[in-house]
C-alpha cells in the first residue's frame, strides 16, 4: 500500500511542475480580482479543480454572482462524472470508506498518469491518491506564491494579464480537439456563445455555448451510429 502511494507521488511530479505554471497565473489573477489569501487557500483545498477555480476567480466580484458561479463550476466539472466512472476498475476491490476518502483529490493530471500506468501494471487507488497529494502540494505552493507576489504586476493590461487565461484555455481546448467530429459542434458552440455574449447579460454564454455544442456532438454521434 505504502509503495503505491510513493510510486504515484513520484510519477506525478513532472506534471505537477507544469501545474505550477498554471497555479502561479491563477494566484496572480486571484490577487488582481480581490480574492483573499484565505479564500484562495480554501478553494485550493475544498474545490481542488484548476479550470473551475479559474472560472470562479474570473467571475469573482462584489456582489458575488452566486448562481452563475455555481452553475459554471457544475458545468465545467461535469467531466469528473466520466473521470470517476472510468476509475471503476481501479477501485474494484476497495471498501466504500476508501472510495469516499480517496476520490476527493482526483484531478485531470493524476487521473491521466494513473490511467496510463494502469495499462502497464497492477496498481491500487493509493497510486492515484499519492499523485493527488503531490498535486495539492504543488497547487498550494504555486497559487499562494502567485497571490503573495501578485502586487509586483502594476499594470495588468499592458502585460496582457487578462488574456493569460484565454491563452491557457485555448491551449487546453486544442487538447480536447477530437478530429473531424469536433468541427461542427465547436462551430455551434462558438456561434451560440458569441450571440449570448452579445445579448444576454452576465457570463451565461459559457454555459449556453458549452451545452448546445455538446448536445450537437451527442446528436451527431447518435445519428451516425444509428445509420450504421
Amino acid at each position: 500500500m505504502k509503495s503505491n502511494f510513493i510510486k504515484g507521488f513520484i510519477a506525478t511530479i513532472p506534471v505537477g511542475l507544469s501545474v505550477c505554471a498554471y497555479g502561479l497565473v491563477l494566484g496572480v489573477l486571484a490577487f488582481s480580482k480581490g480574492v483573499t489569501f484565505f479564500q484562495l487557500f480554501s478553494m485550493d483545498l475544498i474545490t481542488f479543480a484548476g479550470s473551475a477555480q479559474f472560472l470562479m476567480v474570473e467571475l469573482w466580484k462584489n456582489p458575488l454572482p452566486f448562481s452563475e458561479i455555481l452553475f459554471a463550476v457544475f458545468a465545467i466539472n461535469l467531466r469528473y462524472l466520466l473521470i470517476g466512472a472510468s476509475l471503476t476498475p481501479l477501485f474494484k476491490n476497495s471498501s466504500i470508506f476508501e472510495k469516499i476518502a480517496l476520490m476527493h483529490l482526483v484531478a485531470d493530471e493524476n487521473w491521466a498518469v494513473t490511467m496510463s500506468r494502469l495499462k502497464e501494471e497492477k496498481i491500487t487507488p493509493y497510486f492515484l491518491f499519492g499523485g493527488g497529494i503531490c498535486l495539492v502540494i504543488f497547487w498550494l505552493l504555486s497559487t499562494l506564491g502567485g497571490h503573495t507576489f501578485g502586487f509586483i504586476i502594476s499594470d495588468p493590461y499592458s502585460v496582457g494579464l487578462d488574456f493569460v487565461i484565454i491563452i491557457i484555455f485555448t491551449a487546453l481546448v486544442a487538447s480536447f480537439y477530437d478530429g473531424k467530429d469536433s468541427i461542427f459542434p465547436w462551430i455551434i458552440a462558438a456561434v451560440f456563445s458569441y450571440f449570448s455574449f452579445l445579448f444576454i447579460p452576465g457570463k451565461w454564454y459559457i454555459v449556453t455555448g458549452g451545452l448546445t455544442g455538446a448536445l450537437v456532438y451527442s446528436f451527431q454521434k447518435y445519428f451516425k451510429e444509428g445509420k450504421k
Binding site: L70, T170, G210
Partner: protein, 101 residues
C-alpha cells in the same frame, strides 16, 4: 468576518461539494453511464465546448491580435503538447500588439 467574506466562504464550500459529488458520483454510477451512449458522448464533448465558449467571445472582442495569438497558441499546444510554450508565444503576440503596434 463581514457579510461578503461569509458568503464567499459559503460559495467556496458549495463549489467544493458540487465538485466532490461529481467525482464520487461518477465512480458510483460507473457502469450505468457507459450504457447510455448519448450521455457519455455529451459529457465527453463538454470540456471542449465549454472552454471554447469561454474563450471565443473574448478572442473576437480583442480583434485581429486576439485571433492570431489564440490560433498560434492552440496550434502550438496541439503540436508540442506543451502549454507553457503555447502560453509564452500567445502572450508575446498580445503584449507586442498592445504595447508596440
Amino acid at each position: 468576518m463581514n457579510n461578503f467574506d461569509m458568503l464567499a466562504l459559503v460559495l467556496i464550500v458549495i463549489s467544493g461539494i458540487i465538485t466532490y459529488s461529481l467525482r464520487f458520483g461518477g465512480l458510483l454510477v460507473g457502469n450505468m453511464l457507459s450504457k447510455h451512449k448519448f450521455i457519455e458522448n455529451l459529457i465527453k464533448a463538454l470540456p471542449g465546448t465549454l472552454l471554447l465558449s469561454f474563450i471565443f467571445p473574448s478572442i473576437i472582442s480583442e480583434g485581429i491580435s486576439g485571433v492570431i495569438s489564440a490560433l498560434s497558441a492552440g496550434v502550438i499546444a496541439k503540436k508540442t503538447n506543451n502549454i507553457l510554450i503555447a502560453l509564452l508565444v500567445g502572450m508575446l503576440i498580445i503584449i507586442t500588439f498592445r504595447n508596440i503596434l
